[in-house]
Symmetry: C2
Subunit: 295 residues, 2 copies
């Protein structure tokens, strides 16, 4: 098994996008706290239409005001060419775009078919590359769709083959509504391998999924501080795996992440205060297993 895992912290974008709106200043505070934890990558903002996702309307302001740590790779999510232009203009060199493996989910989420979104991505890739940036394609509902049910791994593999042929730099599989399980992770990863995995903990299997993926050789994972966020387009969806729970388990296994767990817990505590509700993170509640009680 690997001795190092790369975590991409998605709380500031994926997390906050699915909470009640917080002011730009709060987002900057959270981003800066996370930049100090030693995490290698942060999904910082998304450049989406403010009417579609008002939570991210201040992306330019947040990105202008937050700390840009040279040790951190920051990325931005975009839905289309307009978003990519904004992200590139803002200086991002790592861009992410989403397409759903489920046609029904893609239509709900993006108002077009999966194939139409793939055509858009074909156009997008050269635009991003010409600006000297990279494009990651996140295949949402890879482990199941709340409308269509199980997604055939071959369909995911087909999408991956197409976007790789088009020049996509990286592929992520998204467990958009928490339908991944150890069995589904094994089934899909046996058919096709992503660069990075994004799990939710909707049905309790978040860390079990990561354990399974580690066993299969995956070494890059998304996680969200405090377990912030979910998916607004999917009924019953709840939060991303909590970064501190992932890091706590990995460090205990002797796997390095570069993250200082104490600083991460401070960031999780801040996230909880910023959103004003208890976050679903056991390690935030109970502390690390190494933090003992007085006799």
């Amino acid at each position: 098994m690997t001795t190092t895992v790369s975590i991409r912290e998605v709380g500031p974008r994926d997390g906050l996008q699915n909470e009640a709106p917080v002011p730009a200043e709060a987002k900057v505070q959270l981003l800066d706290a996370l930049s100090r934890t030693g995490v290698g990558r942060i999904e910082a903002v998304s450049f989406v239409h403010p009417k579609a996702i008002p939570q991210m309307a201040d992306a330019d302001e947040v990105w202008a005001k937050c700390r840009h740590d040279p040790g951190v790779r920051y990325s931005a999510l975009i839905p289309n060419t307009r978003g990519a232009q904004r992200a590139l203009a803002a200086g991002f060199r790592e861009i992410e775009v989403v397409v759903s493996a489920s046609d029904t989910h893609n239509r709900r989420n993006l108002n077009r078919s999966t194939d139409e979104s793939l055509d858009d991505i074909t156009q997008l890739i050269p635009l991003v590359h010409e600006a000297g940036a990279t494009l990651e394609v996140i295949v949402a509902t890879s482990f199941g769709c709340p409308f269509e049910g199980d997604i055939d791994p071959d369909r995911v593999a087909g999408i991956v083959a197409r976007v790789r042929a088009d020049g996509a730099d990286r592929i992520a599989f998204g467990d958009t509504t928490g339908m991944a399980t150890p069995r589904r992770v094994r089934d899909l990863l046996t058919a096709v391998r992503p660069d990075l995995l994004h799990f939710h903990n909707t049905r309790g299997t978040g860390l079990a999924n990561i354990l399974t993926a580690l066993d299969l050789g995956v070494t890059e994972f998304d996680a969200s501080v405090g377990g912030l966020g979910g998916c607004p387009y999917a009924p019953g969806a709840s939060g991303n795996v909590a970064t501190e729970e992932v890091v706590h388990m990995l460090h205990d296994m002797g796997i390095e992440t570069g993250i200082d767990l104490d600083l991460l817990l401070e960031a999780a505590d801040l996230a909880e205060r910023l959103v004003g509700r208890p976050l679903p993170s056991g390690v935030l509640r109970a502390g690390p297993r190494t933090r003992l009680s007085a006799h």
Copy 2:
């Protein structure tokens, strides 16, 4: 990997013992709902001093009123000879007793050293056997103690060797305050093997721990409907793994439990109403991954 797992449902005892007291009638309702799910074993009550644990003061009444399903093995937890006598008189043929691997935790929990508790167990075993019953020894804090920290697997192995030599019928390892992780499960089980494992989900690793234990050949697990319960003697401790989350993951892997997940979810819903607080179960919140949304 195994194709069958045996679940012991501990919600009525371990779960309710760590919630605000509910009336006997509510306990009977929950026990009866669980007996109908197809689960093979239920930890029904404990026979403890009512001043120590008022939640279980009505154990005799509950056991007299609840359904005794011939397809279910019911067990009772006891702290001492007096409790064993009450359990045997009530008709139980499966008795459980707890000893902590951590001396500090044992003194907090039972007001005696681990060795003194082991001496008690030596005396208890013939008494239980003479009544035609079996005794299971649950080794608490096997994966770590909130006061002492890590517990040497050799210490747990020594306790197991002693009680097996004394004639204990079964051994369980308890993750009393949720300090088990996949790594600790692997470390301990490499040194000594129990018959059954009891995990908490305090730090998010509940299902990852079970996955690891399955990989190492363990096929018996405790779980608590809805994730009811915790440990009143340990700061920061929170609930047991939720039975429906365990069953949901296992069935998805093609591992049989004999449990009807829909009936189990009805019992979890009842448990939530009986205790009057939201229970920490993702599958109870979001439903099984196979339950789709309308388009």
